[in-house]
Amino acid sequence: MGRVRIQSEPFDPGTELEGFGAGADVGAVVSFTGIVRGAGELARMEIEHYPGMTEAAVGKIVAEAEARWALADCLVIHRFGPMQPGERIMMVATASRHRAEAFAAADFVMDYLKSRAPFWKKEFGADGEAWVAAKDADEEALRRW
């Protein structure tokens, strides 16, 4: 059921949400979109990933969400490559009969994408370049589930 797209191309959340969950008796659609911050400071961000493992790891996260909550649909799009501040990095969308399920599943997928999907962000600014460090809080967030 769930769908995963790992791509370098930009995407449009509006287009992706068109008809999302339609057909199933869906009462709730939640979407999250992650955007590159740092306008004015950041020249660009580059996201590296592990082709093959990325698709498998994200697919597993989506399958786990579908096992935990009754979802009519679940979509993850995650980009890699260079991006400017203001550009969309990724999105998660979930469709369910009820609000609580759609919210929880989207939140769960995001928590796992943060520290269990093989992506690495590098920032390029006026002061040079630096890999974004993982936060302890991101690892701790997984204990919620």
Binding site: E48, Y50, G52, L113, P118, F119, A133
Partner: protein
């Protein structure tokens, strides 16, 4: 023959994204030791294992994981997706 891959700053420190390694190492830790003994760039990249993650055949695992039958090992820092 093992396909060994490096990502993010591990790749930058070692200076290449992947290589074929002819090894008899039986665990990831053995492989790390073997590579570290080779050249300083490896020793530097592997200096602090707590700052590294490892995947064997595209599955996250620990440094004590066995390599029997493995085809691909990847080293990288903690992931920053989302």
């Amino acid at each position: 023959m093992l396909d060994v891959m490096y990502f993010a700053w591990v790749r930058e420190r070692i200076g290449l994204p992947r290589e074929q390694v002819d090894t008899e190492a039986t665990t990831v830790a053995d492989l790390v030791q073997e590579l570290s003994a080779r050249e300083q760039r490896y020793a530097l990249a592997f200096a602090d294992l707590a700052a590294l993650r490892v995947a064997v055949d595209q599955e996250l695992t620990g440094f004590d994981a066995p390599l029997a039958g493995a085809r691909e090992v990847a080293f990288f820092p903690p992931m920053t997706g989302g």
